[in-house]
């Protein structure tokens, strides 16, 4: 190829690109509807019966960020589930609600919820559509009633129109209200971490990350199962009972074998979501690993996976294993997710 032609070609390309950058919309804000990531399992939420339209998504987002969902119009869902913190209340061990009342549990991530078969640390809520009622009615969270909220929305100048865009008529019903919140929440999909790129063969792990992944698969993955990093079961990972003696799953089933069991949480986006565990008792990941290696206690329902053949409790990890594990866990952070403009109000 002649040098001049090559340069001309290059110039053209640069111009084309520049022009493209100006006219093409920012892809991250483009609404695509619910698309299951190819390497994720089928969702539990019925996305066929409840396809998400852009109008429903936008309405759900507005509701999620609207403090009128609380009794004194001060607390929104997004007050405790903050996007930049992976939709948790970062820095709070237990949640803060209306009148600064404290809850007893740490706000979990609102992420990849379409794959959850139950919600809350104890799995007490079994349908995402019914989930918002719990914080709304909880006196230490939003302390409000859905019928009151619907009245507030009907009296608003914008909402009736938004419900019409989303559902065809401007009727504001409890089921439409709840479905809209679900429409927003199931769209909060995190699948753009380095780990995901490696799975899709678009990136490779560093040597340390790869070693950490090997340790992870051996010591952690039976509970924190890929690619969602939870097997959605209830287990006791050996935490000593909390100050309020939270019995976890037992408070739902009343089955003695469920005492102190909690839903296995996902391990994606841990960089943004601390503190950790159901009551936020562990401040950082080094502390979590120390828990597994040295602080596991048996309250009678300790998971068998945390009992070694020699009778010792917990998981054995060398210092090198720990450092490698931390490198691997770091690949589960999804910057695109916490900064996705589409999710912002």
């Amino acid at each position: 190829m002649k040098k001049a032609a090559f340069i001309a070609g290059l110039l053209l390309l640069v111009v084309a690109c520049k022009k493209g950058a100006e006219v093409l919309p920012d892809l991250s804000t483009l609404f695509t509807g619910f698309i299951k990531p190819a390497d994720f399992p089928d969702p539990v939420y019925d996305v066929v019966a409840n396809p998400v339209s852009e109008a429903q998504f936008e309405l759900g987002k507005k509701l999620f960020n609207d403090a009128r969902l609380s009794r004194n119009n001060t607390i929104a869902c997004s007050s405790c589930h903050i996007q930049s913190s992976g939709f948790t209340q970062h820095g709070h061990d237990v949640s803060h609600g209306v009148d600064d009342r404290l809850g007893t549990r740490n706000s979990p991530q609102i992420m990849n919820l379409a794959w959850n078969k139950a919600f809350f640390w104890d799995g007490g809520v079994t349908d995402l559509d019914l989930q918002p009622m719990a914080p709304i009615e909880n006196p230490v969270e939003m302390d409000e009633k859905v019928p009151n909220i619907l009245e507030k929305l009907r009296a608003d100048s914008k909402y009736p129109g938004l419900f019409k865009d989303a559902y065809g008529t401007d009727e504001i019903t409890s089921s439409r209200f709840l479905k809209s919140l679900s429409a927003y929440m199931i769209m909060l999909i995190s699948d753009q971490s380095k780990y995901d790129s490696v799975r899709r063969k678009q990136a490779i792990f560093t040597v340390a990350e790869q070693r950490g992944y090997t340790v992870f698969k051996k010591k952690c993955a039976s509970c924190h199962t890929e690619p969602l990093f939870t097997d959605h079961s209830y287990r006791n990972n050996g935490l000593a009972p909390s100050a309020i003696n939270d019995l976890g799953r037992y408070s739902i089933t009343l089955n003695a074998s469920d005492r102190y069991k909690f839903k296995v949480p996902s391990l994606r986006n841990l960089q943004y979501t601390g503190p950790f565990m159901h009551d936020g008792r562990i401040l950082n990941l080094a502390g979590v690993l120390d828990h597994y290696t040295g602080e596991v206690t048996d309250q009678g329902t300790l998971d068998p996976l945390l009992k070694q053949a020699d009778g010792s409790l917990g998981i054995s990890l060398t210092d090198a294993d720990k450092s490698d594990l931390l490198s691997f866990l770091n690949t589960l952070n999804d910057h695109t997710f916490v900064r996705n403009k589409l999710f912002e109000p």
Binding site: D127, D129, S174
Partner: protein, 275 residues
């Protein structure tokens, strides 16, 4: 009353009855069957807030709130054939403070029915249906006129709710709360306890239900709510003032299956004012 007139009336009413019995029933035609849940306490009518009652342990109490779900109504005719009321129209919330809620009214094919059955509470199928299929008394977000018959933190309906006061309850307010629910949960791998109870009542003693198109047959039940507290387990207000999601809820549910007794049946009813 003049004896002759009395005999005449008697004759007419016997004729009326036998006439009814002789009418051939049409399986395609439907009539109204209502089940009346008439709440009583022992041998007194229920008087919320004011009535003074006493349990088997000698503890006196008042009832301030009483409400329960009735669902999945079925009837069996004289030939032993069962008719299941379509589920969509088979959910009722009986509210102690609202007399008009005491009838569970359904349409069933014309016929003579000797057996009635229903569920106290809400079946597991409906408990896990999408929210758009749960309207009216089943709307989980609806506060059911303050009834609050849904647990938001342990997804499921409260089947039976009785609240009140008793001096036997320690503390200043002396309040007791019995909220009974739990349908087994939606996760077979991690089930909750199951307090769904089916009640079956033989109607032959109190009078069979003769359902005819154009008329209403009212099966009048006396619901002795004292039996929720007394029976196999005698509930002590002092020891168990609050029972909600609690192993002990099984005892109260097992007690309250005995609350329902068939008293009589009013057939050929044309207007609710006759009841």
């Amino acid at each position: 009353m003049n004896k002759n007139i009395f005999v005449a009336i008697l004759a007419i009413s016997v004729m009326a009855c036998s006439k009814d019995n002789n009418t051939a029933t049409d399986n395609n035609a439907k009539g109204v069957l209502s089940v009346e849940f008439d709440n009583i306490v022992g041998n007194k009518t229920l008087q919320l807030n004011t009535g003074d009652y006493i349990n088997a342990l000698g503890q006196s109490f008042k009832i301030t709130r009483l409400q329960y779900y009735i669902s999945n109504i079925k009837v069996t005719n004289e030939a032993g054939v069962e008719y299941v009321v379509p589920q969509d129209s088979s959910y009722f919330l009986i509210l102690g403070d609202d007399r008009s809620s005491r009838f569970a009214k359904v349409n069933v094919p014309e016929g003579d029915y000797k057996k009635l059955s229903f569920i106290v509470g809400v079946d597991s199928l409906r408990s896990t249906m999408p929210v758009e299929n749960r309207t009216g008394v089943l709307d989980p977000t609806g506060d059911h006129a303050g009834a609050g018959m849904y647990w938001t933190w342990n997804s499921g309906y409260v089947f039976f709710k009785m609240e009140g006061t008793s001096d036997a309850v320690p503390g200043a307010a002396h309040k007791f709360y019995y909220h009974i629910g739990l349908y087994g949960g939606s996760d077979p791998a991690s089930p909750t306890i199951n307090n769904i109870k089916e009640i079956s009542l033989d109607l032959t003693q109190g009078g069979i239900s003769q359902v005819r198109s154009g008329f209403r047959s009212n099966v009048h039940l006396l619901v002795d709510v004292l039996k929720a507290l007394n029976g196999q387990t005698n509930v002590s207000f002092a020891e168990k003032p609050t029972v909600m999601v609690d192993e002990y809820s099984r005892n109260i549910a097992s007690n309250y299956v005995h609350m329902f007794a068939h008293d009589h049946t009013e057939n050929g009813v044309k207007d609710e004012s006759e009841l």
